[in-house]
């Protein structure tokens, strides 16, 4: 790793590092999945989610980095393939950020294997007239595939510093810090159009890149092939889903939850809390608030920590593994035809699969989709049918314990509803679908370090997000119970809940709490089912309604933020009758046919 042409430049370099009224603003820009977020993390010490697929970063992240003796503002941007013409929403965010006064200096991160594409972007960035540094990242992977780039020659040709880097191993960062001091405006001829840029980029690539047929990456390449061919890819998908079920649904939702709920909370935490509260808290109402039926500790904390935490932790770990392996985008190949029926294309598999982690985040990820119509349909389907990790595990935990038929019925019904609603939406909503083009990231063995960090960050995020809401939700339930409102809610919803859906009255409050947070409602159902207060048919109906029902309040606000209040309300107005109608239909059919599971 060395930084070229820095030394001779230093004397004549433009004085980039001088006294300034405000910190120098440096934007990290590049194609999707080239490692911008890894570089950002190294320079700022701030972790942003890093994955092996395009579209992990869909918003701007800012951080502080020390370069030499100077503190700079560093900006991590969503990946861009082009700055011209029709760009998706995440690309527009990047374009606006780097073109405006928010950016003083551009560090372009390039995948060393894909120099030609990177240079096409360099030519566009050069037009902005801002000083630049070019980073060739992943030179180790390029080398393993027989590709070597002559960095000094490239630096000479572009007239900007070029730094070779292996960001995930921390190699090349001191060189990058040095190079920032001699950043300069690139010397790239002006091109009339994309075609001319491509010709220039192709010619320069030929000049500075040496390729040999030798490839040291046989195993990942064989895996890449196996995952995308239907004959091997579909069995692999089934196996992946089965392992996911074993790890999250059985190990997480049954074994770990069992230990946490029965042993840790049932035998230690809750008895201890009861012991302390009974002695330390004099008033009865305050005691009830803490350890009663709707006690903040006995209900709120138990739900959050004992039931939901083990599930989301196992899910995030497994999910992180799949993300980093580069497997998820390959599913798009198989899903494309089905998604086309719903006015989407295969690319929509990314937000849909991410929705299994958290619908709120996934709603934001729809930014990578090509058209407003696709975004709207994807957001609608996420809200309608994609269960978040906590719900998914509740479903697996409850129905997996009943029978496979019960599980298959729920997923069958939910998927059929998504297809039907998607099909209708594709016809009702105006606009167009974009053609399916997707870049497939290389298959990699996930790095344990990133996997652990990512899971830890997500679990902390979960605790920070969910625990306060679980506690607030429980407090709200407590108050509603005290003032008699819960009875009112139960009475008001009785015709629907017990009448149409055939569920016990207490499910009403769970469905209400499910709106506050989906996983809170899921945990409530879990608790109800475990204590034997739901029949098998009731379990299937309740879980189907909850899966189809309005997503939590956080994802509602995200829908409003992304698509406006009217759209958000409209989505809720569409989903609620569908959820209740489906539940009522199921209840009727099950009873009519005498289904017991």
């Amino acid at each position: 790793m060395s930084c070229h042409v820095i030394r001779e430049r230093a004397s004549q370099a433009a004085p980039v590092l001088t006294l300034r009224a405000r910190p120098l603003r440096i934007a990290l820009v590049g194609q999707p999945n080239v490692g911008k977020s890894v570089v950002f993390g190294h320079l700022t010490g701030r972790y942003v989610t890093v994955s092996n697929y395009p579209g992990t970063t869909v918003a701007i992240t800012k951080g502080r980095a020390l370069v030499g003796a100077e503190v700079c503002d560093l900006i991590d941007t969503p990946g861009v393939n082009t700055l011209d013409g029709h760009v998706s929403e995440d690309e527009r965010i990047t374009r606006d950020t780097i073109a405006g006064p928010d950016t003083d200096l551009i560090v372009q991160i390039a995948d060393a294997r894909n120099l030609r594409r990177a240079l096409m972007l360099t030519a566009q960035l050069a037009r902005l007239g801002k000083p630049m540094v070019l980073v060739l990242n992943m030179v180790d992977e390029a080398f393993a595939r027989g590709i070597v780039v002559d960095a000094p020659a490239l630096s000479e040709a572009l007239d900007v510093p070029v730094v070779e880097m292996v960001a995930v191993e921390g190699r090349g960062f001191s060189e990058l810090r040095d190079a920032l001091a001699s950043a300069s405006r690139p010397d790239v001829p002006a091109h009339p159009d994309a075609g001319a840029r491509a010709v220039w980029a192709g010619a320069l690539t030929e000049r500075v890149r040496r390729m040999s047929a030798l490839s040291l990456a046989r195993i990942p390449e064989a895996l890449a092939q196996a995952t995308r061919r239907p004959i091997t890819g579909i069995p692999i998908l089934v196996a992946v889903l089965y392992v996911l079920y074993l790890f999250v649904g059985v190990f997480g939702a049954q074994t770990l939850v069992g230990v946490m709920e029965k042993d840790v909370f049932g035998r230690a935490v809750n008895p201890a809390a009861v012991w302390v509260v009974e002695r330390a808290v004099p008033t009865a109402i305050a005691r009830d608030f803490l350890i009663g039926e709707y006690g903040v500790v006995t209900m709120g904390l138990t739900y959050a920590i004992a039931i939901v935490l083990p599930v989301v932790a196992t899910f995030f770990l497994m999910f992180g593994f799949l993300e980093d392996s580069g497997y998820i985008p390959r599913l798009a190949i198989f899903c494309d035809r089905i998604f086309r029926l719903m006015g989407l294309n295969g690319k929509a598999v990314l937000p849909m699969v991410l929705g299994l982690g958290c619908d709120t985040m996934a709603t934001m990820t729809t930014r990578i989709l090509g058209t407003p119509k696709e975004r709207l349909i994807a957001i609608l389907l996420l809200a309608l049918g994609v269960p978040c990790s906590a719900q998914l595990a509740t479903i697996m935990g409850i129905l997996g314990g009943i029978s496979f038929t019960a599980l298959a019925t729920l997923f069958g019904v939910v998927i059929a509803q998504m297809l039907a609603v998607g099909w209708l939406a594709a016809r009702v909503i105006s606009g167009e679908r974009s053609p399916f083009v997707l870049e497939l990231p290389p298959i990699r063995w996930p790095r344990i370090g990133n996997l652990v960090t990512k899971t830890r960050v997500r679990v902390w995020w979960y605790l920070g997000e969910a625990v306060p809401l679980f506690l607030a939700g429980t407090a709200l339930l407590f108050v509603l119970d005290r003032v008699g409102a819960l009875t009112l809610v139960a009475a008001a919803t009785r015709p629907v809940v017990t009448g149409l859906l055939g569920l016990p009255e207490s499910t009403a409050q769970i469905l209400v709490m499910g709106f506050l947070r989906r996983d809170y409602g899921a945990a409530g159902l879990f608790h109800l089912a475990r204590s034997g207060r739901l029949t098998t048919v009731q379990s299937v109906v309740a879980l189907t309604v909850m899966t189809l029902f309005v997503p939590c309040i956080a994802s509602f606000f995200m829908m409003v933020r992304e698509r406006g209040l009217r759209t958000g309300v409209a989505i809720v107005a569409v989903i609620t009758p569908i959820a209740i109608g489906t539940g009522a239909g199921l209840n009727y059919v099950f009873h009519f046919l005498g289904v017991q599971f």
Binding site: G195, R228, F436, V437
Partner: protein, 90 residues
């Protein structure tokens, strides 16, 4: 569409969708009519432009090909808009 493909086929230019697995080719042009413009732009941004060297890796479901060092998947309708000239590579 078919008219254009036929017209091109006389000089060895075929749509990418007509290539078999494992065939190598060089991109001649992308997009045959103005309606394909946004798609052509997108492909161009991904490196699928005049002169790019491609290898078809898979033809079902969806067409997977290597363009330079990027593995891309496109739907068949889009592959019909990518015109290439087959070449033999050692």
């Amino acid at each position: 569409m078919s008219f254009i493909s036929l017209a091109f086929s006389s000089d060895g230019v075929r749509p990418l969708s007509a290539l078999a697995e494992g065939e190598h080719a060089v991109v001649v042009s992308v997009g045959s009519d103005p309606s394909a413009e946004p798609a052509a732009e997108r492909l161009c941004a991904l490196g699928v432009t005049h002169g790019a060297r491609v290898t078809v890796l898979q033809t079902f479901p969806g067409i997977v090909f290597l363009c330079d060092q990027t593995e891309l998947v496109v739907e068949r309708a889009l592959a019909r808009e990518i015109f290439v000239r087959a070449e033999v590579r050692s």
